[in-house]
């Protein structure tokens, strides 16, 4: 029996088409505002998807991903100040961020809420330590990176490439046997051990991967904002942002967090402009509503709509399902 392909041809085609469209978009006279918003969206898409690998695939909700985000950003920033080409710096940032997860991996042995709260600790401690590590992060004043206007413009395609790769990886992981094992771990760690799956190993791997990708996105983010400071980059609000993006888009789905990231970026800019005070409260209400009514966020909503629509179409084309009359006595 042949297994279903990791990436069906049609899906791959649609994906490639989508990326191609996005890639040529700037050539079609895109406003600078839209250009920047999209760039930022791509970075956040990558981050949210990477967060989802831990929060949605493995089922360990992290409130401390800002630690890896910040590490990636500042490592990349430092290397840029030393004159290295940006892409290399971003990759280095990602690598270091991935390695950063190693010393904290004992916390991975924790179940559910214990892990989540421990990640708050990771985030907080990172923020404090790195804020005072002036040699690395420039302290409270932060770093100012050598990014030219042209380079910033080109970030669009780098960010798009990153987002595309991470999205592709998300789809493939979800459909692969690796993803299956992750879901088993998420469902029941002990039962997973009973069928031979070592939760510890898989969690370590995913945490490192998730951290590395967030680190790379942190690097690109740093180039985008040009000026970074540790209080913000390592802040709790940064960690919260990733959680929100994934929840709004759909925790556990392959691409839901990408949607969530776009919504988040758009909403954020609009809200900060019109109602800066309502910003977090609105997300809080959104999270509550989602958890209680539609745990799969936007993806779940779209899914329900699609199903309802399909039922309507079916009825219109095939008519209402007819009731078959009961068999006469004696008939089978």
């Amino acid at each position: 029996m042949t297994p279903p392909p990791l990436l069906p041809r049609r899906m791959a085609g649609a994906f490639a088409l989508g990326c191609a469209v996005l890639a040529v978009l700037p050539a079609l006279d895109l406003s600078p505002y839209a250009h920047n918003q999209l760039t930022l969206s791509y970075v956040m898409i990558a981050g949210a998807l990477a967060w989802n690998w831990m929060g949605g695939f493995v089922g360990q909700v992290s409130f401390g991903h800002a630690a890896m985000f910040g590490v990636g950003a500042f490592v990349a920033g430092r290397l840029m100040l030393d004159g290295l080409p940006a892409p290399l710096c971003w990759l280095a940032g990602g690598a270091v961020a991935g390695l950063f997860t190693l010393p904290v991996h004992p916390t991975l042995r924790l179940r559910g809420p214990y892990f989540s709260i421990a990640t708050i600790g990771i985030g907080e401690v990172s923020r404090v330590v790195f804020t005072y590590w002036e040699g690395f992060t420039g302290g409270a004043t932060g770093l100012s990176l050598p990014v030219t206007a042209v380079q910033k413009y080109q970030l669009y395609w780098w960010a798009l490439a990153l987002a595309a790769m991470v999205a592709l990886a998300s789809i493939v992981i979800r459909r692969s046997s690796f993803g299956l094992r992750l879901l088993a771990i998420k469902a029941d760690v002990d039962a997973a051990a009973d069928v031979g799956i070592s939760a510890a190993l898989y969690q370590d791997v995913m945490f490192a991967l998730s951290g590395a990708v967030i680190g790379v996105s942190g690097g690109i983010f740093a180039s985008y904002f040009v000026f970074i400071e540790p209080g913000d980059m390592f802040g709790f609000d940064r960690s919260i942002a990733f959680v929100l993006m994934a929840v709004i888009g759909g925790v556990g789905t392959s691409l839901g967090p990408a949607l969530g990231a776009v919504v988040f970026v758009v909403l954020r800019t609009q809200l900060l402009a019109s109602y800066p005070e309502l910003h977090l409260g609105l997300y809080g209400v959104l999270v509550i509503v989602i958890i209680l009514f539609q745990p799969l966020g936007i993806t779940g909503l779209l899914g329900s709509l699609a199903r309802a629509l399909a039922r309507r179409m079916q009825r219109r084309i095939f008519g209402r399902p007819r009731r078959t009359p009961p068999p006469a006595p004696g008939e089978a």
Binding site: M1, P3, S177, L180, L183, A184, A192, A193, D194, S198
Partner: protein, 246 residues
């Protein structure tokens, strides 16, 4: 040499000795039944052999090689797998995926081979019909079959069945018993099972071991065990035991 041997297995929980220097041997292709009153230590024994807990003392040998230190997931690779009294299917995976995740992981086969194996195992336990459903759609008996299928697909040499028949109706129980016998006959899997349903254990087991208060008090063929006064006493109280002895 016995396939599986446990020597001096002891497990203490704080002040309570759940299992006290229990010896156990399982031959190749043998079905061993473990019985005893509630609290006798049967589930503890299973957890020790399965690897979810470590013994306070004693050792476990598979093919003469010690496996005592191995964690549960390693033991599965070594060939020892257990099912649970309270079944725990992966609720977020389909029936097929439930079995699949065990098959690929235990033997690192290519996905194609694993799928064949999964189909075959599902056929054996009788769940081949609509495997794209979720475990929630199954009855208890169905979920127990799923648990069994999942354990089987890891290709075990020793299968630990913890009260697999509990809670199902007599017709199902009979079907299960036949299934277990088939598994042993057709696949050469050795089985240790524990049950409260006496007829099932008696008819299936080649040998029976009786536990009481964590100690092994008797071992032998079903016929011998049924007549053993110590066993009768353990189950029914000492007067009944004395009655049988006289």
């Amino acid at each position: 040499m016995a396939l599986l041997a446990a020597r001096g297995l002891t497990r203490r929980f704080g002040g309570l000795t759940a299992l006290d220097r229990v010896d156990l041997t399982l031959g190749e292709g043998e079905i061993l039944g473990v019985i005893g009153p509630n609290g006798a230590g049967k589930t503890t024994l299973f957890s020790l052999i399965g690897g979810s807990i470590q013994p306070s003392a004693g050792e476990i040998l598979l093919d003469g090689r010690p496996v005592t230190g191995l964690a549960a997931h390693r033991r599965v690779r070594a060939g020892i797998v257990r099912t649970h009294q309270i079944v725990r299917p992966f609720a977020n995976l389909t029936i097929f995926e439930n079995v699949m995740v065990a098959a690929i992981h235990a033997h690192r086969r290519t996905t194609g081979h694993a799928r064949d194996r999964v189909a075959e195992v599902l056929e054996l336990v009788g769940l081949a019909d609509r495997p794209e459903r979720y475990p929630g759609a199954l009855t208890l008996a169905g979920r127990k079959r799923l648990e069994l299928a999942r354990a089987l697909s890891t290709g075990p040499r020793v299968l630990l069945l913890d009260e697999v028949v509990a809670g199902v109706n007599p017709a199902e129980a009979l079907a299960f018993a036949q299934l277990i016998r088939r598994i042993r006959d057709e696949r050469g899997v050795s089985v240790i099972l524990t049950e409260h349903v006496m007829p099932a254990v008696m008819s299936l087991s080649d040998r029976i071991m009786v536990l009481e208060y964590g100690k092994r008090i008797a071992e032998g063929t079903p016929a011998e065990i049924v007549a053993d006064p110590r066993v009768i006493a353990a189950y029914l109280g000492s007067e009944a035991g004395q009655g049988a002895a006289s």
